[in-house]
Amino acid sequence: MEKMNEIQKRLIEEVADLHDVPMGAYNFRANGKLAGRNTTANIDIQTKTEGSGIDIRIKDNTKNESVHIPVVLSDSGYKEVVYNDFYIGENCDVVIVAGCGIDNCGSQDSQHDGIHRFYVGKNSKVKYVEKHFGSGTGKGKRILNPGTEVYLQDNSFMEMEMVQIKGVDNTNRQTTAKLNKGAKLVVRERLLTHSDQKAVSGYTVTLDGEGSNADIVSRSVAKEKSYQKFEVKLTGNNRCSGHTECDSIIMDEGKILAIPSLEANNIDAALIHEAAIGKIAGDQLIKLMTLGLTEKEAEEQIINGFLK
């Protein structure tokens, strides 16, 4: 972190809640260069010998350890594609914090396309947090296109928290997951777009194993002239259960397209999709106004609560 400037440090704070060097394993990347790395006895991080990115290997039975791999871009016009692969052993219990912050004060577009692949071993538990943030006053766009692939082995569990609240002009997030026997995937996505931003979020989840389970919940707010597309495809190939939910608040001239898709290829596949798009309910605003908030303050409280 000592190699970073103030802008980069602020971006790191936004995307990884880090004020200083974290405990445990970490890998900081700033404008395409390594800005700090630490490995532990159980968690190894290696730069890929071919292509750009890192391999993170977590030994069997690693418990209560964390890996932070934030990425920041502060040079206007910088574009990169990075492949990060996570090999998580069996019987682990770990937290992985990723995230990308872009500060673009120039006129050229800055772009980070991060492809993350997770291979989660049997009986392991992973909590993955990914935050995206953009800042800067330049005309150049801040573009993030994350791709996430998740492979869950028998009885493993992965919880994914995906957050993009501010400042990213254009994003196309594609997540695919395959679940083996007894595996469970929980996704909590929170998205806020404003001005003329565009965000596309797609999930393709395949429940291959007996007793596998997926719960994907997306909450989003589209303000001003922004556009969002949420597409989720859930396929059940065995006795399994799956639930997806897309809940959106639309404001101003925002546009939201939600495309749910369920495919059951087994009589014992139980799949549910819920989708709702609507403006803030008038009675919610009125209730908070009767407690003394202005209409604008009430709106902020409702959105903050919704995206919490």
């Binding site: 909450r219 809940d247 309910a281 009675d283 919610q284 009125i286 209730k287 908070l288 106004m289 009767t290 407690l291 003394g292 908030l293 202005t294 209409e295 409280q301 409702i302 903050n304 609560g305 919704f306 995206l307 919490k308």
Partner: protein, 242 residues
């Protein structure tokens, strides 16, 4: 004191003008517990919404401590000390009970104080303080939380629209205790409750009966209650529940 002068409220239904409230003149004095009753559709809830600023009267004037507040909006009225408990509490995805109580208390409310308000409405604080105010709560739980937001707000003038509805399992005695303690907590405060319940009418200082949008009776409990007992305006709990 809150005063209504010639309050009239008209709506257009299927092209026809309908008067919901007609020339209402009322004075709600300080330190009083006042119950407004009347049959369904008599205009009680409309009157509460006009007082809180949710609806604007077609005609008339509202004075609060001598100041004309007819043109103040909902927020402005809330800030000068008016409180309104909804008949149908509003649900919020994501907002927690504690968030709502903090907003009601103008931002500064310790966890302990918040829990205290919940206990007063008969909810186990530890279980509810972090709950979201959403569909996972029953109608009765939402209703009690709604009352707790008014307790946290401590308005000088509060109006409760049928607070007992939906909280059948909770004893009226507790509700009555709340109103009593509110009158003590808020100096010179006025509590107005819209209710048909005889047990609530029984503790009123004054009773107002609305009928087809006009005040048909207004006076002390001793004067009014005997006249309305056994009518739709004053039903016993068991009858209402049946």
């Amino acid at each position: 004191m809150l005063e209504l002068k010639d309050i009239t409220f008209k709506v257009i239904i299927n092209g026809q003008e309908k008067e919901i409230l007609k020339d209402i003149n009322l004075k709600f004095e300080d330190k009083k517990f006042i119950v407004i009753t009347g049959h369904n559709g008599s205009g009680k809830s409309t009157l509460a919404k006009i007082i809180s600023g949710i609806l604007l009267p077609t005609k008339g004037q509202i004075l609060f401590d001598g100041k004309d507040i007819t043109n103040l909006n909902i927020t402005e009225r809330a800030k000068i000390g008016l409180g309104y408990a909804f008949q149908q509490p509003v649900k919020f995805k994501g907002l927690q009970v504690y968030d709502l109580l903090k907003i009601a208390a103008k931002g500064s409310l310790s966890l302990e104080q918040a829990c205290n308000y919940l206990s007063k409405v008969g909810l186990c604080a530890g279980e509810y303080i972090r709950r979201e105010v959403n569909n996972s709560l029953s109608g009765g739980e939402l209703k009690r939380i709604e009352i707790a937001t008014i307790l946290a707000k401590q308005p000088k003038f509060s109006i409760f629209d049928e607070p007992e509805a939906g909280i059948d399992l909770w004893s009226f005695q507790n509700l009555i205790k709340i109103f009593n303690s509110m009158s003590q907590d808020i100096k010179d405060g006025t509590i107005v409750v819209i209710s048909h319940q005889e047990r609530i009418l029984n503790i009123a200082d004054e009773i107002i009966v609305l009928s087809n949008g006009v005040v048909s009776m207004h006076g002390s409990r001793e004067e009014i209650l005997p006249k309305i007992l056994g009518t739709e305006s004053a039903v016993m709990t068991c009858k209402k529940l049946a």
